[in-house]
Symmetry: C2
Subunit: 317 residues, 2 copies
Amino acid sequence: MPEQQLNVEQVVRPNGDSARRPIMLAICGDSATGKTTISDGLVSALGPERITAACVDDYHRYDRQERKALPFTPLNPQCNYMDIMAQHLKLLSLGDPVLKPVYSHTDGSLGRPELVEPRDFVIIDGLLPLYNKMLRGCFDVTVFLDPPEEIRYQWKYSRDTSKRGYSKEEVAADLKKREPESKKFIHPQRAYADIVVRFAPIEERGETAEDPLSATLLLRPTISHPDLSGIVTEDVHEAMHLKLTRDDDGKPVDALHIHSYASRELTRKVEEAIWAELGVDEPLPESLGMINGERDEPLAITQLILLYHLIQAQNGS
Amino acid sequence: MPEQQLNVEQVVRPNGDSARRPIMLAICGDSATGKTTISDGLVSALGPERITAACVDDYHRYDRQERKALPFTPLNPQCNYMDIMAQHLKLLSLGDPVLKPVYSHTDGSLGRPELVEPRDFVIIDGLLPLYNKMLRGCFDVTVFLDPPEEIRYQWKYSRDTSKRGYSKEEVAADLKKREPESKKFIHPQRAYADIVVRFAPIEERGETAEDPLSATLLLRPTISHPDLSGIVTEDVHEAMHLKLTRDDDGKPVDALHIHSYASRELTRKVEEAIWAELGVDEPLPESLGMINGERDEPLAITQLILLYHLIQAQNGS
């Protein structure tokens, strides 16, 4: 037909309204690094009518049965439709819905896809959302979760045996099998995050994985972080402090420490100061930091910083 | 990250090579109108390495079980993710792959989606590919299959009882249930086709649905058809003829008739003349018109005309 292709651009972007483009946040990390815990808190804080959360670990080329004959795990980009993942993220970033594949952790099958419609904010979590430039180009804010392997293993044992029906031996075998690909494909994405989050016990205090964990947030100067200079001390003996340091690669970075024993009084003061910087009408959400029905201060501050970036990006500042 | 959104356009169109855009053909029609038969012949003629064929009847919002509680059939656009269908067709038309949903006719479930990668040519068949402007904008050539309902019912009984495991009573009930939505949603798409194809018995000759069927192709002046003036006679007594007529809506149209008794000698002459108009090096495919292992002349000419348009569109003429 003569008019063909005339409206093609409108097909993908029917509203053509760049002001309504959703704000996109990536939460990247290996299996059992706490991606869902952080994401859930942001959804609670903003309300599900304003935020869409989706995991991009379902773009598998092969189901569990097919993978048995193959030399790689789901961590390997070759095992995934990376181009389709990028295509879907781009569409979401333009405000368009996608029909996302769905992988069942229960039986390892690929099933009925589900509709994902972007709201004002979109949180994407997964193993590989920062793997290549096309993927990274879709996000406004990027986060990498980087707990010590000891902590991650413990979280994984706990979740996969209780919620996914595996035995401890199966989880151990799986962790071992995935280790080389975790190093090769997952961990290098740390370099592309605006914020690196590390929940860990403080060894100097004799803490172990059993104790409540402290958090360290590496705030890279790739995005504009809240000005913490008048809010958080540089005194490293305080329960919450900011320290100018060097990252593993030698680059300078601000490290925000929130110790597990930080008091609610202290964190409330910091939260309110950060929130005030946003200059928005809505109240500071009270629901941050919840895990297993209890409030965790390092988790609350972590979520608040991400929330700050989402709202700041929406305000275009 | 500062570079975010810079590469967003490349995400959907990594090659940025408009010369490589696939040629898109829509074959639209109700259930059991012969869409697959026509499409299969084109795939055989061009070879699967040059052509991608996909059906867009899998974009269901609801599976068979869920539909039982709903007041519409799959013919209703409300029952389908029409925006995602348009999105996927647009992506294919730009040369990008899509992860297409898959509906099982066997058990009525929605299952594992499949990768569809566009080659030089893409044939899309289905119930609703011409339903709205966004969909239509994705195609270079559009076809609507319009057999008499009597013929279509017979084809549907035959296929659904032999290949899809239904009883004749179930098929009859389904046809009756779908009739209002067929009239409301499927048939109006006829208006948007460049070519309307009607396989039917010739009543004046006393033929019935049991006899080999003749074909009438309405060639609308919305695309540039092969010049048949020196190739096909206007004498309506000949087994193959071209007739200037009025469509149901009163608009002038060329009607190409190919009677079932047209000889192979006649059709070969016409085929070769049409093929010569293309001016291409490759030989005229010998595989056209096959159905149930035998060659059908009206089907062969129908497929050849579509093939002509695919190759003509690729050559940019």
